[in-house]
């Protein structure tokens, strides 16, 4: 831990900076420092168009005084640069009163949630280029109707350090890697797209169990299948969502609404409902930052709190919200390891990590067989939610009609819309085939953070499908 932390800023410098941040009589001060390196490779139109690398290094300093938070950031990590930012943050939060406090820091033991075997930055760029080219070839070999392919690989190595006026000093190293392929197929009915991605908080060993050519073939197959897709239906009907593709449903239907910052402002339909039945008794929903290797895994959150496994809904009953430092302090309770931020230029807020629904008991095939007419979603796209009303949407990237208990024709793309609390009640069948889904980026108030999700195959009794067919 000391390695990660002190390699960014010396502990005695941190103590002086925190002391300066507290000089106007604030109640709390925090330094978040980050050193991040990224590499990106992009292939499009048959060519590796660009190889890029970047570095960002800086610190965000937060000072809390009553209900007011002052914040400043700087890319200057010298003591004078940090002191200037500390004074700016302190001034921003100042409400009078002067006090000087010495801050003694106690280093927390480091706990590596996602150990890395092979650091992606140790792999030759030529090797990565070759993987992109193989993905391109595999997608194009899937059919003569594949007219365009793009592929990308990105990896990042981020070291963070958090120190605060309560004496906390904690660090973490987060290594992530992802690979994505998208394909365009062209036919009599126009063009269609397919897209697949994998990623994790993991090293290059991600590719030990994941073949990029296979990923590319799946993207191509999706585009080719959709060439014969017919318009999606319009109106309300049962929807079956394949395992490992529908976690975004819970992310939007209730995940955001269980974030304590929105709850405390009364901007969530789930405010004041702890202990109540808010979902079908089949549903147990967990947010878990400790899931080794998953895209949303973290050793500590961006306020220095260790990541946790938090049960949010148990057998349909709302058990708890997700918490960051400020909201937990206000309620006089413990944080839950959900204080996250995009980077040093941003304030932390309550965010999800890996959010998933535990297994049920049904055979997934039986769930389809039990459905006379409906839609089978084999891959969901992104989504969004209005947490106050609970209305949310999510896209279907690959979907099929279910007729007489069988999956039949492919459907064109569209959004599904529902109301969170209603949809949670309407989940009537839950499979036994739990799987985690693809890496995602969750956006909130202008900040993106990596999140994971997962669920077994499930059925929602009724969702509104935003197609054009009768």
């Amino acid at each position: 831990m000391q390695d990660v932390a002190s390699s960014v800023i010396e502990p005695d410098v941190l103590s002086r900076v925190l002391g300066s941040a507290m000089a106007t009589g604030a109640e709390f001060a925090e330094v978040y420092a980050e050193d991040k390196r990224v590499t990106g490779l992009g292939l499009d139109d048959g060519k590796v168009e660009q190889v890029s690398s970047g570095r960002d290094r800086g610190a965000g300093i937060r000072v809390v005084n009553g209900e007011t938070t002052g914040f400043a950031y700087t890319s200057d990590l010298t003591e004078s640069g940090l002191l200037a930012a500390a004074q700016a943050a302190a001034q921003a939060a100042a409400r009078g009163g002067v006090g000087v406090r010495n801050v003694g820091l106690v280093a927390s033991p480091e706990r590596r949630v996602s150990p890395v075997e092979v650091y992606p930055d140790s792999i030759a760029k030529a090797t990565k280029v070759e993987m992109l080219l193989r993905a391109n070839d595999a997608a194009r070999a899937s059919g003569s109707s594949i007219v365009q392919v793009s592929a990308g690989m990105g990896d990042s190595r981020k070291r963070i350090l958090v120190a605060n006026s309560d004496g906390l000093l904690a660090g973490d190293e987060q290594v992530r890697i992802n690979f994505r392929v998208s394909a365009v197929a062209s036919g009599d009915t126009g063009m269609q797209t397919g897209v697949q991605s994998i990623g994790g908080t993991i090293g290059f060993e991600l590719f030990d169990d994941n073949d990029v050519e296979d990923l590319a073939r799946r993207a191509a197959a999706q585009a080719l299948t959709k060439l014969r897709a017919r318009p999606a239906p319009s109106g309300s009907m049962p929807v079956v969502i394949k395992c490992g593709t529908g976690g975004v449903l819970f992310h939007e239907a209730c995940g955001h609404g269980l974030e304590a910052d929105l709850v405390s402002k009364g901007a969530s339909v789930y405010a004041g409902r702890r202990g109540e039945l808010v979902a079908s008794p089949l549903i147990t929903l967990v947010d878990d930052g400790t899931m080794q290797g998953e895209w949303g895994a973290i050793g500590i959150d961006d306020e220095g709190h260790p990541s946790q496994r938090n049960v949010l809904i148990e057998n349909g009953v709302l058990t708890d919200y997700m918490w960051d430092f400020l909201r937990a302090r206000k309620e006089g309770r413990a944080q839950s390891g959900n204080g996250r931020r995009q980077g040093y230029m941003y304030l932390p807020m309550v965010r999800m990590t890996n959010t998933y629904v535990l297994n049920g008991t049904e055979d997934p095939d039986d769930i389809v067989r039990a459905t006379d007419r409906g839609v089978y979603v084999a891959q969901l796209g992104g989504g969004s939610v209005d947490t106050a009303s609970g209305d949310f949407v999510f896209g279907m990237v690959e979907a099929y009609l279910i007729e007489d208990g069988r999956i039949t024709e492919p459907l064109r793309e569209g959004n599904l819309i529902g109301n969170g609390p209603q949809v949670l009640q309407d989940i009537d069948l839950l499979g036994n085939d739990f799987a985690m889904g693809s890496p995602g980026t969750c956006g909130k108030d202008g900040q993106g953070v990596p999140v994971g999700d997962g669920q077994p195959t499930l059925r929602v009794r009724a969702l509104t499908i935003g197609g054009t067919a009768a």
Binding site: S75, V147, S236, V269, A388, S389, G466
Partner: protein, 446 residues
């Protein structure tokens, strides 16, 4: 010459024989204030800077960036970009832009009144907006009232002779509202944007935020049907943002645009005349130069329904045997320029939204859309979004509706445009808004 341009020039002066080098350098400051329940909840004051370096050699492109202007780091960035250049696939069209002789339209994008606006005044604007909004209706709560401003300067230089630099500032206020009634809560928002903080229209931002939230109270699902929709100006601007992907020269060159072989064809209703004009100083995204340092210019994209031109960066132009339209776009120092529209405007119609609605027997006013990123595919043209708004019945606005979708295809929607309003609105986006009437859209509700 600006300090940043001098810095960029120093980097490109190090270009070696057989190599093109571009340096993009920027620096900025920002302030933001968030008010909740009458008091400051967050106050952020910050500075940032950075450099992005692109190197092209033998048709291969390498890029590197860093979030600092520290001289030693700049050396490393140039070295990283040179290292990266070895690994690309040679592309005969890869090259930096060269000066094309098109003169810049001088624009004043810096307002000294904002530069000298005091911290206490910024806080006061957010506090005033919070108070004005809450006093607008007893059912209204304010989730947050924000003041935000930024000032930045940037410079780009290339070994091919590009030299461009400029500075700009701007500010906005925004407010998010919650309206409660009978155990349900609806949301709304309002904002005002400009360069002179004293002229921001807080009153209007507050009024709109109250109206957007309160008028949805009691909303139910609409009946599923094909009907006419009227897009609110804000929604129309978002719709134009989607359309822009279809006229992007790079998408055309790579076969991803559904209009790729339709130049000169009628692709929209004759009512549609769409221009991209970053030289109009009223546009939030107005700029003198594009992301490659070429002069920004006015481009007529759709002329009375006929597709007149695509927009090009120098790369897409070379690939398609034409010239750049000054449409390289760049999201700061962390990336290389892509291609895209910068400041879209539709030529407005002649009637107000109220007059237009007065002629509609059955329809829906779309106040907000949800999920444009997840339900719209600009390659296939499939369009489907969540929506909320107000029923239009016999020429008047009637009951509110929510939790429904609207769906069609981009191709059909453009052809089905029946009228445009005269209510042009300048928004903090790459497009302006106005009311747009589209026929025969599928509404999925109950």
């Amino acid at each position: 010459m600006s300090e940043l341009l001098a810095l960029a020039e120093q980097v490109v002066a190090r270009a070696q024989s057989g190599e093109q080098v571009e340096a993009y350098v920027s620096r900025g400051t920002e302030t933001s204030v968030r008010v909740y329940e009458g008091a400051v909840e967050q106050f952020t004051s910050a500075q940032s800077e950075g450099i992005g370096v692109r190197v092209i050699r033998d048709g291969r492109t390498g890029f590197a960036y860093a979030g600092t202007l520290d001289a030693r780091v700049i050396d490393e960035v140039l070295a990283d970009a040179r290292d990266n250049v070895q690994f690309g696939t040679p592309d005969e069209y890869a090259a930096l832009a060269s000066p094309d002789g098109v003169a810049k339209s001088p624009l004043v994008l810096w307002d000294e009144r904002l530069a000298s606006f005091g911290t206490d005044d910024k806080v006061r604007l957010a506090i005033d907006l919070d108070r004005m909004t809450r006093s607008g209706d007893s059912r209204i709560r304010v989730e947050s009232a924000d003041y935000s401003d930024g000032a930045g300067e940037a410079a780009v230089a290339t070994s091919t002779g590009i030299r461009a630099s400029g500075r700009e500032n701007g500010c906005y206020v925004s407010v998010s509202t919650l309206a409660d009634d009978n155990g349900e809560t609806m949301t709304g928002f309002g904002f005002a944007v400009g360069r002179d903080p004293a002229s921001l229209d807080l009153d209007r931002a507050a009024r709109e935020a109250v109206e957007r939230a309160t008028r949805l109270l009691g909303a139910g699902k609409p009946t599923s049907r094909r009907t006419t929709v009227v897009l609110d100006p804000f929604v129309t601007a978002q719709f134009l943002g989607v359309i822009s992907a279809t006229v992007n020269g790079e998408s055309v060159a790579k076969g991803r645009s559904l209009f790729r072989d339709r130049l000169g064809d009628t692709v929209a209703s004759p009512l549609i005349t769409l221009v991209d004009d970053p030289t109009d100083p009223r546009a939030y995204t107005a700029t003198e130069v594009d992301g490659e340092g070429l002069a920004a210019r006015r481009n007529l994209i759709v002329d009375n329904g006929v597709l007149n031109t695509f927009v090009h960066s120098s790369y897409s132009a070379r690939r398609l045997g034409t010239t750049s339209t000054g449409n390289a776009v760049r999201g700061g120092f962390r990336g290389t320029p892509g291609c895209g529209c910068i400041a879209m405007q539709l030529v407005p119609g002649t009637r107000s939204a109220e007059e237009i609605i007065g002629d509609i027997d059955d329809g829906v006013l779309i106040q907000m859309v949800q999920g444009l990123h997840s339900g719209v595919n600009t390659v296939s043209g499939d369009f489907s979004t969540g929506a909320s708004g107000l029923t239009i019945r016999n020429g008047s606005l009637a009951e509110p509706v929510r939790e429904f979708t609207i769906a069609s295809t981009l191709q059909r929607m453009l052809l089905d445009v029946a009228e445009l309003g005269n209510d042009l609105e300048w928004l903090p986006m790459r497009a302006t808004g106005l009311s747009m009437v589209i026929r025969d859209v599928t509404v999925s509700g109950s």
